[in-house]
């Protein structure tokens, strides 16, 4: 079974702090994704990585950056957290033998105060 883990289930940070969200997958997937999920807005893609050190902006990259130094790990960075970044953050991976389904982590509920 594919396993995607995220570093924290709940996180509370202050406005202006730098925040790191970590995601690790154990299936050697090429592709990894970061989404945020908000009521009424659904899942929105922040960033996508298709290989180590490769990344593409998603639909809402502003205020975020990412890092992928190893194939199994994809980090989302909030350079200076703001209250409008309070959200559920979900990491996913895909690419097992050319298949398109995504495997999600449990999510990190981030609150910025």
């Amino acid at each position: 079974d594919v396993k995607v883990t995220q570093s924290s289930r709940y996180l509370v940070k202050r406005t202006g702090e730098k925040v790191f969200l970590e995601c690790v997958q154990d299936m050697d997937h090429e592709n990894m994704f970061w989404y945020r999920q908000d009521p009424g807005l659904g899942l929105r893609l922040i960033y996508f990585s298709y290989d180590v050190k490769m990344k593409e902006k998603g639909d809402i990259p502003e205020g975020y950056s990412v890092s992928r130094e190893k194939k199994e790990r994809f980090s989302l960075i909030l350079e200076s957290a703001s209250t409008n970044q309070t959200s559920m953050y979900l990491c996913a991976s895909s690419g097992e033998q050319g298949r398109y389904e995504q495997y999600f982590g449990p999510g990190t509920r981030l609150t910025v105060t």
Binding site: V4, N31, L41, R44, F48, Y50, L90, S94, Y100, Y103
Partner: protein
Amino acid sequence: SQKIEQNSEALNIQEGKTATLTCNYTNYSPAYLQWYRQDPGRGPVFLLLIRENEKEKRKERLKVTFDTTLKQSLFHITASQPADSATYLCALGRGAGSYQLTFGKGTKLSVIP
């Protein structure tokens, strides 16, 4: 602009009946469409994928249809059970060979005993 609509935010159905959820899209030519299940506080879980050249796909009590002329997918759960209560998301591949998905906002299904 590209748009995905899931026909209702919430659907209540009696146990044992067939639940039918709808996903409509505009300004897309997706190579495939996927359905996911999401329970409260958890990441989505992949259920089924159907490609543009397939009309129907089945998995146990689940059936998905894909009509590229109508730009619509129907998701059916037969003999529904209270354990099927969850939010169901449809997601479209962004293009041939693309691993990126665009998600609908979901339909919350409640199966009443």
